[in-house]
Symmetry: C3
Subunit: 345 residues, 3 copies
């Protein structure tokens, strides 16, 4: 059998609240577009009828599942067998198609696929994700339902223990679920599950990466990669550099950063940036800013809105320290520039 068109299968272990609702799910090794033999083995063993479903696994189902997968997906059968001894809630999430989300385990699976680098930002249907992610207290005792938190805090205190509440959010930190190879993350609280960190990425203490966003390769990230933003290989973000995201004012324009770019410290970006562009430290380039374009001789050519410079390569943006004017310096002649600026690309 060949590679199937089935979207994803993953075996998980998670946390439920006292009402039996999922708070979160950890999938050690999710499968993206699994081989059709695997799909068939799981389908037959679980009597699965198709569609997108998250099925609770009971202990009796584990050994038959593991056996069915032994020869075709030994890594998966190892995981399933290790689950036999656990008392935690178990789940198998079967996504026949990449569609809008309807359960919490599905939402967690899609976030895992991004952070495992199995799919890239914007390549997944994440519609409906927010209602599927409960707001959770992330603690040193695991995920806790907010309704249960005061009692758990008091209980810990009475026992002379600390219930450390690290995060109250719909998204957990990525590193408690997956740490992709070849990265450094100086302070993991600032990278959400669902971030995509390319090989060779360092996220320093001031860096931040939201879900459905990330870096494609080598990058030094000391600024904020907002939801939906993609930073291409070889680009660096200085400390506190800000990129307007799809959830924070960027609306439907997806902001990206080309290859080999530099956003200086405390700089900001409101347009998709082409390759090899630089924004000077401290300059916030909003889409509506009126920018004086200079040619390769530093001669003034024209004033344009920053959004008209979207995706153009080899630009240097500064605020002239004498005149206060935002300038865009280029390596092109005035004639080339005029042509480009009026090409309405």
């Amino acid at each position: 059998m060949t590679n199937s068109s089935f979207f994803s299968i993953a075996f998980g272990i998670g946390t439920k609240n006292s009402q039996g609702n999922w708070l979160e799910v950890y999938y050690p090794t999710p499968l993206y577009q699994p081989d059709s033999k695997i799909v068939e083995a799981v389908t037959v063993t679980l009597d699965y009828k198709g569609g997108n479903q998250a099925l609770d696994l009971n202990k009796d189902q584990l050994e038959p599942l593991a056996t069915a997968l032994d020869s075709i997906a030994p890594e998966q059968s190892d995981i399933i067998r290790s689950m036999v001894s656990s008392t935690r809630p178990l789940v198998v999430t079967l996504l026949e198609t990449d569609s809008a989300l309807s359960t919490t385990p599905e939402a967690y699976l899609k976030l895992h696929l991004l952070s495992h680098r199995l799919v890239k930002p914007h390549d997944l249907d994440l519609s409906g994700i927010f209602p599927m992610l409960p707001n959770v207290a992330w603690t040193n005792q695991g995920a806790i339902d907010l309704a249960d938190l005061p009692e758990r805090q008091m209980e810990a205190r009475l026992n002379g223990e600390l219930l450390e509440v690290s995060c109250i959010d719909k998204f957990p930190k990525m590193t408690n679920y997956v740490v992709p190879t070849g990265v450094r993350i100086a302070h993991t609280a600032r990278v959400r599950l669902g971030a995509y960190l390319g090989e060779g990425t360092t996220v320093m203490h001031e860096g931040f990466v939201n879900f459905n966003a990330g870096t494609m390769g080598e990058s030094m990230i000391e600024g904020r990669v907002s939801a939906g933003v993609v930073v291409n290989s070889g680009s660096d973000l200085g400390g506190s550099a800000s990129i307007i995201g799809t959830l924070s004012g960027g609306n439907d324009i997806v902001i990206s950063v080309g290859e080999g770019c530099l956003l200086g410290a405390n700089a900001g970006l409101g347009i998709p940036l082409g390759d090899r562009c630089t924004i000077e430290a401290g300059l916030y380039l909003t889409a509506g800013a009126k920018v004086s374009v200079l040619d390769s001789n530093n001669q003034f050519v024209e004033v344009v809105k920053a959004r008209e410079l979207a995706n153009k390569p080899d630009l240097l943006f500064i605020r002239n320290s004498q005149s206060g004017t935002i300038e865009c310096r280029t390596n092109k002649s005035a004639i080339e520039l005029n042509k480009e600026l009026h090409s309405h690309n």
Copy 2:
């Protein structure tokens, strides 16, 4: 009996150092302006003579206290009964009046009252709070006196354990004491006990809220709400937005943000901002900045210092990207503006 004029009562469980001094106190459900029946029951049972006091509770006092409160404050008696089994230091803090602080348990009680939304920022007498808050090592083994820390670290290491020191500060993180309803806090280390977070507030990873400061309702906080700053409902702070606080250069002017405002990412604010105002991303508006005021036709009217625009509604502040001038754009005619600017309100 009617509602008393008594300020606050709270039963707590805390940590003392080896000299028997309080390091911190956790009050699960502090009472603000308790019913006079409760005050009477506690007074009689504990032989309390009035004033502001933090009394150590011994085990023998717990059952009589619980019994006295059974019918009038069952939540409190439950807490008191649960304390019987604990070996941790217990305290009852009785504040007859809201006065300057003189003990550590009092200071912690006032910080709890703010974070439980029982009182608003600036509505408490917090004078003398700093000396009452010892500098503490906040660790995964609870609060530790700094003098004891090296020995505890070595001990943990020898046992193959980690003593995680998360914070060395006078203020602990709020969420290890109280998590108010209807909030998200992506990274809890950035909200101090004593912060007031209104229902509907989200504090993102880059957000920060100091004590005696906060949000009154729905807000997306990705910037810094400094000590003393109040952000009114419907206002958002972009990433790294800065507000000058009472402890950091704002002196005696209390900075606030009106309703429905937006501070862009990397922006800054040094004046009290009226309702429905916007500060462009990247612009730091200090009180002394000279601002060109423009009317509804974008015609120049007058240059004023930013502080003269304090508390005025419906203003948009930008730095003109061509001239470098800080401008304030309004929806008013030149005549209306002239009148307002010279009314010395």
Copy 3:
């Protein structure tokens, strides 16, 4: 015997990965330029032949070592005796000279010397440090090799526990190794081992201090002290203030901040700053910025590049809010200024 020229000795307890390689070492009380009696005692007991070495300690060596040090270094012998009961890997690191690094325990020792305030930033040979620091998962179960992490995460999950991964980095947080006296660090994840924090330093939530960098005395740090940067006594960094570091574009110019300076919130610095200088909130002063110098009467004198103002005292840098020009205001007459600016100091 007198003070030796021996560089450093330290007894440590650490973590090795499954291949037996050091991941990290904790030295409770490292010795800097130890008395030659101590050097001799250690040399004789361990049959040490000189040079820079990190020697694994076995249990049989501990009591003889402790005995040899009892009268001359009782604090060290106490530590060595306490190690007898531990099952953790033990090490003694002997640095005859301050030379380029060749082992992980050496690298950790040098970082300890900085954070213990035994040597100041730039006073150590740290060449070759990066390859000596393995990239480690810093967790609530201690340091874990990245190769072992997925298995450990799964294991914890199956047991209903959380493996909290706080940091994926070559550098751990300082406070899990040493907390110098007289400091506050509101959020310890933002101070790396190897930072030097002077007595009286407060690092607020937004502050950050890299290794081989720090503060010499009283300072309120709410901004970023990048690698190699030294902030002198009495200087404050506002929230998100940025200082260009040796690893992030500052190249070989070492940036420092004089005494009694203030960098406003969201400001930035790209030159070594003299004493009593102020940079206005929101202004990023890069080395190449053209600055209008004004005399004590606020009269224009000359335009110079910011780097020509390096290390000069009593300067106030602002961006004129009307003209957009970066200005440097001084307390000097035009004649004095002209002289200074052309002295090529």
